[in-house]
Structure formats: C-alpha cells, structure tokens
Symmetry: C2
Subunit: 316 residues, 2 copies
C-alpha cells in the first residue's frame, strides 16, 4: 500500500486505539492524541489484543497536546461525545484545511460539532460495529466484529450519496484490514445504529447487565423489542424508514454475540459520564420536533439521567 494520507486520532481508547492501531500497523502515518495514558503510550506504545490475533506497536507517534501535532489529512474523532466541547479548539490544529473528519462516535448527529468546528472540512460519519474495551493504559482488547459503515454528513435533509472522501477513507481502512460498508444516506446509517444503542446501551447501564443477560429473560427481550420498535417509529416520523426486518435481525445478531457490555455500561460502572445526550437527548429532540412521542425511550432516558445525577461522577 502506498499511503498518501496521514491520520490524526482524537481519543486513543477502545475505538481510536483499535482503528488507529490497525492503520499504523498497515503502515500509515498515524498521530495519536493521548490524554490519560500519554506517559505510558509514549514509552510503551500500544497493545491490541484480538481473538483474530493481537499485535503490539512498541513505538507510536503520541501527543498529549493538539498544538504539538502536525496537521493531518484525516482526523478520526474517536473520543466520547461528552468531550465534543474540545473539538473547536482541537480540529483546526490537527487537520489540514479542507481535510477529512471521520466521526466514529455514537448518537444521532455527533458530526454536527465537528462540522461546526472545521468549516470546509469533509465530514464523514462512521458507524462502528465493534466490541472492544480499554483494558489498561495503551491496551485495547478487541472482542468481536469491527466493521465500519461510512456515510457523508450533511446538516441538510438530502443524502450525500457516495463521495470521493468516503471512497478514499474506505480504501485506507480496507488496506488496514477493516471491513467497510458505504451508506448513501447518513441519517439511515445513524438511526440504524441507534436502534441498537438506544435499547442495549441504556438498559445494560441501568441494570448492570450485559447483552446476554438482558436477552436471557423473556420479559426483558420484549422490552428491548418494544424500544427498538419505538426507535423505528420515531425514525420514520423523522423521515427515515428503517427496514421492517431490522428488529428481528438485530435480536438474532445480538443473541449470536458473545456477552457484551456496551460502552455506556462500562462508563456507568467506572463513574464516567454516559453519552446520554448523543444517544437519547438528541434522538428524542428530533422525534419531538417531528411531533413523535417516545414514552419508553423518554422513561429510559429519565432513569439514566436520574441515576447519573444521583451518584455523580466519582472519577471526574
């Protein structure tokens, strides 16, 4: 592979560490922005465990401050949406003008802050179907899956189709061994992912359970299905008609997965803030603007917000 694009990874955790690590291993020029683990990563690099074969990158280009990073052709936004307030002061430093931003974040439109932070950039949404977690400093445990679906972001209602920037990033990710899908309709891609995240992230976080435990009880399965149905109905009210078979496929796929603790559950357990606005607040706002009420999602959102406010964020 003849690498023509350099990459800046914002957030070297379960997502950014994994995809950035794969790009680096394949030979790309990758600059990692590392916060809490900087002292470790600067000396020891990154370690990625994977059932398909792990690897170590003993030396990576690690930075603790955006202002130290050379501008890259592509910036991958891989930190939690709760950190998006830092985008406006970060993206212009780490990305070349007119560059590409790939937003590997959860929620309805996490691309919005990236687009606002970097006018003129080509912003892509990336939907990760990835089970991974950070196991320690500079240490990522990849558990299952890893495909990314790309979709070009636009604040307007019309799909952007398949853009040259999508094809460029897809080529790089594929060269790094990542399975890449392309979705012409960014909203469709986002709502499909939300149809999984909204039931599973919140219920696992609230109930302290993994996906297999949730799906192991019949009444809870029906709750999950009812929430997926509500997401689908809400997406429809917002103008995105999800495929009717999506719910059953999602249930089957999640049944087939190894027991998984979604990121929101790990955040909750660790006392970190949960991505409540991205995964619940914004979709509910969009539904409300379309005149759609989602009582089950509202209830779950209220419970999660309550639970977070009640116990606070001990680690912040």
């Amino acid at each position: 592979m003849n690498w023509t694009r350099s990459y800046a990874i914002l957030g070297t955790g379960a997502v950014g560490g994994y995809y950035g690590g794969l790009l680096r291993k394949a030979g790309a020029d990758v600059r990692f922005l590392v916060r809490s683990d900087f002292a470790h990563v600067r000396v020891h690099g990154l370690k990625i465990d994977s059932p398909g074969g792990g690897f170590t990158l003993p030396r990576v280009s690690a930075f603790s401050r955006p202002s130290d990073m050379p501008p890259s052709d592509v910036a991958i936004v891989a930190w939690k949406t709760t950190e998006n307030g830092f985008l406006a002061s970060t993206l212009p430093l780490v990305l070349k003008p007119g560059g590409i931003v790939l937003v590997l974040q959860n929620g309805l439109d996490p691309e919005r802050e990236s687009a606002e932070a970097m006018p003129g950039a080509h912003v892509l949404g990336g939907l990760c179907f990835l089970c991974s977690r950070k196991a320690g400093p500079g240490w990522i445990q990849h558990q299952d899956y890893g495909a990314v679906t790309l979709a070009a972001y636009s604040p307007g209602p019309d799909p952007q189709g398949e853009t040259p920037e999508m094809r460029a990033v897809a080529a790089d990710l594929r060269a790094a061994g990542v399975e890449v899908g392309m979705q012409e309709d960014w909203r469709m891609a986002r709502w499909r992912k939300l149809a999984w995240n909204i039931p599973f992230n919140g219920l696992c976080a609230l109930l302290g359970a993994d996906t297999a435990q949730l799906l192991g009880q019949e009444a809870m399965r029906r709750q999950v299905e009812a929430i997926i149905d509500e997401v689908a109905a809400g997406a429809g009210a917002c103008g995105t008609a999800l495929p009717p078979a999506l719910r059953d496929r999602m249930m089957r796929d999640t049944d087939a997965m190894a027991p998984y603790e979604p990121s929101m559950k790990l955040d909750r357990d660790a006392g970190r803030p949960m991505e409540l606005d991205a995964i619940y607040g914004r979709p509910l706002q969009a539904m409300a603007s379309a005149g759609f009420r989602a009582p089950l999602i509202e209830a779950l959102h209220a419970q999660l917000e309550f639970s977070e406010k009640l116990t606070g964020f001990p680690q912040r």
Copy 2:
C-alpha cells in the same frame, strides 16, 4: 375502652408491629406471630419509635408458631404478600370461624389468598398510609402518617358498602389512636393506593433513591406523573374511575413528606424479594384482561424482575 375483640398479628414488622403495638398499648388482647425476631421479642417485647411519642411494650404475647396461638376474633395479615403461600396453613389456626381478616398488604387484591384460606371469614382490605420501617429486632421506627382506609373485600364486581365488620375494626383502631377512613368500594381503595405504589415503590427500588430524590429532578417527576396517569387509565379500563385530581394531590402530598424509602426499596437493598406480583403483576394482568396496555408499567415491572433475578436473593 371495653375490648371485646382479640387480635392475631401475622407478621410483626413495620406494619404489623406498629398497628398491633398500638392496639396492645390501648389494652386489646393482641397475639403476635413473630418469626425472625421471636427470641428477642419474647424476652424484650416491642419498641415503637414515633415522632409523636414512642413507647415500649416490655411484655407482649408472642408466638413463633401459628399452632401455638389461641384463635382470635380478628387476624391482621401484615406480612409481605410474598409470604401469602403460608396463609392457608395459618389463618384457620389463628382465627375463630366466621372471624374478621384485616389485610394490611400492598397490591391489587392481596385479600384473595386470605379469603380462599378461610371461607366464611369476613375479609377487609386495609390501605395503610404509613411511613415506617423495622430498625432492628422488635424495634419499629414510625416516621410519618399512619391512617388506614378500610374496605370490605369481595371477589365480585360490586362494592360491599360499609359493613358491620368494618365499623367494628374501625372502632378498635380508633380506640388505639389510629386515624381510620372507610371506603365503600374496595377496588377504588386498592387502585388509589396502587397509583402511589406503582410509580414510587418501583422507581425508588430500581434507582436506589428515596421519594424526595425522585421528585427533585424534573424529568423524573414527569415520569412519575406519566406512570400515575397510566395507572389511572388502567384502573378506568378495569371499571374504577379514579378522581381526576388524584395525581396532582399525590404529587403534592409526596412533596410534603419527609424523604421516604418505600418498602420495596428497603427490600431490594436488603436482598429480600420485592412484592412484584402484588404491585405490578396483578394490576397488569387485570389491565390486560380489560384490553388495556400499560407500556410504562410493563417496562418498570420487567426492569424490576430482571434486576431481582440477576442478583438473586442473598438473604433467602
């Protein structure tokens, strides 16, 4: 007071210990069935703390086995509904034939098992508006309120009106200092209480919160109100039209209460089984039989059941 009726108290805890203690203090012949605390109560009696003035009963008539108890004129069923499987083997031993059963339990129709266990008995429902908890062996902490609403039970649809047995028990309780209300329609009494128990018991148990914490967050207040509305609509579908002003009055009354942890929350924290069937399962069944769907109550029930099954009952 010239006491003509003897009392058997089944379950000497936060409810039975409190009302039985008041009756005993006022001079009634009260026989307490005591299980876990028997060794303590036999020697030390009962201690009741109360903001209005506590008292101690150094010697009470305590029994560890129903078969040791002389048959009484009135049996007060004050253990948790989760113990109702013991009624069939207990009531016929502790109650005179044709006696009165006063069921001080939560849920839609906890009287059913009492009526089935003791054909020919006069079964009364008693709705306690009581904040109390067991603080230790034979030690009840009364925190607030204490009124009881009586209603004659009947498995059929028609209200029984005000029966002689209601008046008799009301006179005894009033002589013991209890505020007593009479409700001609047993179903109305039960649904009114459920309109409080269904939101507050479950949410407090699930979220590890007290009533004041729940009501201190705006989004959670709206959830509580939405659940009360669902109970009211479901009761209406079942033929009991709750007063339209009930919801707002309940919110105001609960705002005015000292922060309170409902029994289900205490049970959850202590790893005891929660009264899920009485407070959720049976009302949901009744609503379903009436063709009414209650998605918020179903969701809460499923979460509570899940949570209980996931962690088990460490103390059982």
